[in-house]
């Protein structure tokens, strides 16, 4: 542990990437980027959406081959032709988007290709589950290793990804936004594990858009902008302000710009909503001009409530009214017609049609408005897509490019654009800023605040507690499928929310705050 102290001379990099460049057709994703990871250190890689972070990760993982540049591990030059080779060289990766096998068990997902086997080569299922149970316990989550991955929430999937990387016991651990979907609880546990890995001498690369995590957990930073290296150094030489300035190239406005307004009449009224096994007797209202936060632990059922309100999931009891119109269950189209919108939590599965262009995605919810009679009006399609994507400062080559070519954060902006284009009266946003960089996050917040000021009712589900606290006029808290409390802006604090969400006092929380 002594040789692992940052900045000391004895320290040699475990992994060195120098002069890496990568091009995707017309897009130069990386240009001459370098990176050094030291044993026993957590290294933060920072940059705006689309800066090239994930591309860099995928080069280290052997998923992409760099057009130029050299990679060394332990001083030896290496070339990875595939993910298998990177893993064999002791590099473990947690990718930005969970990539799991939905039809296999949690245990098999974690140990795929490395399942413990008997002498005859037969897989020893019992040992396999025991091993994985051990890792999950270390992470402090109650996931059954024998259950299938299908149906796990994004957060639980992220946990499985983490378990997978940890099970490798690798010398280099690369984590691309592992905490984006996690709440404080899991995040804290993850960091605890990371610290113990560091103590064992592992080198860690950590990507996040939550700056507080960087300053709490990392020893070094590298900052990128537009695919280029901007600066690198020990964390002590940086402040949040300087980091943001180097990332964005300018000073940021206020992150949580929402000023409390006088709420208008009730826009969304949910009463007695129940679905056995999912949620029970959920009632609340959201008024015009109001931003209401919906907080809770992962798996508390917030997304389920949102989906049931919008009509994607069934609901057995209860009613939903938008501006006085009752909305029947399982009719998203009628809900939309009444002025309801839902920005779903899983942008890849639920939010976007990856193969289609940015424009087609952005217009998908308002096709009926873009026609002349029966036929589509191409000019109107262009105009409409242009309007919202530029307002959200989408970084894209052309609007006719497939949305899959965008970086994660920019994809999220397309989902937002799609719903803002509908001009909703009530907008439910589920993890609206997951994976979005600070600049864009401020932008999303500004847009939401402006729209609220203009009379939009917003229900905001977010696992990013500071975001909820900063933006919401009122906070509803869910626990195990029930609404357990409501806090006004004045009453709300991280502690108060956690107390409601867990049903326990803060000292039991293991120092999460």
């Amino acid at each position: 542990m002594t040789e692992a102290r940052p900045g000391t001379a004895v320290n040699v990099p475990r992994l060195t990437l120098s002069g890496a460049s990568k091009r995707f057709g017309p897009v130069q994703a990386l240009r001459n980027v370098s990176l050094e990871l030291y044993p026993g250190e957590a290294h933060a890689l920072l940059g705006e959406n689309g800066a090239g972070k994930s591309t860099l990760v995928k080069i280290l993982a052997g998923v992409h081959q760099a057009d130029a540049g050299e990679l060394q591990i332990g001083g030896q030059p290496v070339v990875f032709r595939g993910p298998g080779e990177a893993r064999a060289a002791g590099v473990a990766i947690i990718y930005q988007e969970p990539t799991l096998f939905p039809d296999l068990t949690v245990a098999e997902n974690v140990l795929m290709g490395r399942q413990p086997a008997t002498r005859l080569g037969r897989i020893d299922k019992r040992t396999m589950q025991r091993q994985v149970a051990g890792i999950l316990q270390e992470l402090g989550v109650a996931l059954d290793p024998a259950r299938l991955v299908r149906g796990l929430s994004i957060a639980d999937q992220q946990i499985v990804e983490i378990a997978k990387a940890l099970s490798l016991n690798a010398q280099v651990l690369i984590m691309d936004e592992p905490t984006a979907a996690l709440t404080l609880q899991e995040t804290e546990r993850l960091f605890r594990v990371v610290r113990s890995l560091r103590a064992r001498g592992a080198a860690i690369l950590f990507i996040t858009h939550r700056l507080e995590e960087v300053f709490a957990e990392c020893q070094r930073v590298t900052i990128m902008r537009d695919g280029q290296w901007v600066s690198a150094g020990v964390i002590g030489d940086y402040t949040p302000g300087s980091v943001v300035r180097q990332m964005v190239g300018r000073d940021l406005g206020e992150l949580y710009p929402h000023a409390q307004t006088q709420p208008g009449e009730v826009a969304l009224k949910v009463s007695g909503l129940s679905q056995p096994g999912m949620f029970d007797d959920v009632s609340f209202t959201v008024r015009r001009g109001e931003i209401v936060g919906l907080a809770g632990l992962v798996g508390a059922g917030r997304s389920e409530v949102a989906r049931a309100v919008f009509g994607i999931d069934p609901r057995e009891h209860g009613s939903v009214q938008v501006n006085g119109h009752t909305i029947p269950p399982l009719q998203p189209r009628l809900a939309m017609r009444a002025g309801l919108g839902l920005v779903p939590e899983d942008r890849r599965q639920q939010g976007l049609v990856m193969e289609l262009s940015i424009e087609r995605n952005a217009n998908l919810a308002i096709l009926n408005r873009l026609g002349r009679g029966l036929l589509m009006d191409r000019a109107a399609e262009d105009r409409s897509a242009q309007q919202w994507t530029s307002q959200l400062q989408l970084k894209a080559h052309r609007l006719s490019d497939p949305v899959s070519s965008l970086s994660g954060g920019n994809q999220q902006k397309v989902v937002l654009a799609k719903w803002l284009a509908t001009g909703p009266a009530v907008l439910i946003v589920d993890e609206p800023t997951r994976g979005i960089d600070v600049g864009a996050k401020a932008e999303v917040h500004r847009v939401l605040a402006e729209l609220a000021a203009a009379g939009l009712a917003v229900l905001m589900i977010s696992s990013d507690l500071p975001e909820v606290l900063g933006m919401a006029d009122r906070i509803l808290v869910m626990r195990e499928g029930r609404l357990v409390g409501e806090l006004s802006r004045e009453q709300a604090s991280e502690e108060a929310v956690m107390w409601l969400a867990t049903g326990q006092r803060s000292q039991d929380l293991g120092g999460a705050a």
Binding site: E70, L342, L352, L367, M376
Partner: protein, 330 residues
């Protein structure tokens, strides 16, 4: 955009191949490029062409309908039975359409209500509808259709060599192309095919649209059955057996992705003509059916393989072009 451009390229390629096939046929045999031969030749694939239109829509939403040829047979058998029972022809035609629509509705309901995979459902209804056709007609064949109607199937548009079924097809092809490429409905089909969950989250009524498409497919197959019956002046239980694979082969050759979300009417139509013309050209110079079967298979494989290989070649060349610059930097 890359994929979009690639697709347009593919359609242009298919159209170019159609022209090449015509020229090749003319070179091979002086009897090929005559109005009457082309007229026979196109009339020959009218049913496949008709069914390819709705099949294109269905495959674009990532479903499949293997039962079309059986619905064709059922429609033919029903039309014959009704006619033999002295039902007036217009009413018989109406009832045949109704039956086709119902057959499509059953497919659609099983797929959308029960959530069964369409491949499995339509393998089942492939047997069911063909069986019903046999049950209706048994070993009978109805042949004495009124000349007015058989002339519609058999004749050409007055003053031209264009077969009447092909003229009908042309009209329907234009309508389908407009529906798919220029309406909100068409836009939704692509979204459903590429990611039905995301489409549902955007308020697209995925189930209802799929149901509608299966009904359309049933109606179109019934139309093909009516055309078939009049064209051959013969209603039999086994009419059109096995045509489904030809329809699907044509649609896929036309660049419609079997995984949904990609393809165009122009491509599918051009592919129907390409297969038909190549077959016609090779038959006229007495190339055996065995070789024709092989050529069809190779065309189908080549239609995807060749663009894939070209794309990879291009990518490799680009990478080679990039490398020296990169090396200079490092």
């Amino acid at each position: 955009m890359k994929s979009v451009r690639g697709l347009l390229g593919w359609e242009a390629t298919i159209l170019a191949l159609v022209v090449l096939a015509l020229l090749g046929g003319a070179l091979l045999s002086p009897d090929f490029l005559t109005a009457s031969n082309l007229s026979f030749l196109t009339a020959n694939f009218s049913e496949i062409a008709l069914m390819a239109l709705t099949m294109t829509l269905i495959i674009i939403v990532a479903e499949i309908d293997l039962s079309v040829a059986s619905i064709l047979g059922l429609a033919s058998a029903l039309l014959g039975t009704l006619w033999a029972a002295h039902v007036p022809m217009p009413l018989a035609i109406l009832l045949t359409f109704l039956a086709g629509g119902l057959a499509g509705l059953l497919n659609g309901l099983l797929v959308t209500r029960l959530g069964l995979p369409s491949l499995a459902v339509t393998i089942g209804t492939l047997a069911l509808y063909r069986g019903l056709a046999y049950a209706l007609l048994g070993d009978r064949a109805i042949a004495d259709f009124p000349p007015f109607y058989t002339n519609l199937g058999f004749g050409t548009v007055p003053g031209t060599a264009i077969p009447i079924p092909m003229a009908l097809f042309a009209v329907l092809a234009v309508l389908t192309a407009v529906l798919l490429h220029a309406t909100a409905f068409g836009r939704r089909l692509y979204a459903i095919g590429a990611n039905s969950m995301a489409a549902r989250f955007a308020g697209v009524q995925v189930e209802r649209i799929k149901l509608l498409l299966f009904v359309m497919s049933g109606l179109m197959a019934a139309l093909a059955g009516i055309v078939y019956t009049f064209r051959f002046s013969s209603a039999r239980g086994d009419n059109g057996t096995g045509l489904e694979l030809g329809v699907i082969a044509a649609v896929l050759l036309g660049g419609v992705s079997i995984f949904g979300g990609r393809g165009s009417v122009v491509g599918a139509v051009a592919a129907v003509f390409l297969i038909g013309i190549i077959n016609g050209a090779l038959t006229i110079v007495d190339v055996s059916n065995e070789i024709l079967t092989i050529v069809t298979g190779l065309l189908l494989i080549g239609s995807v393989l060749v663009p894939n290989l070209l794309a990879r070649l291009r990518a490799a060349r680009e990478r080679r072009a990039v490398r020296p610059v990169g090396d200079a930097v490092s």
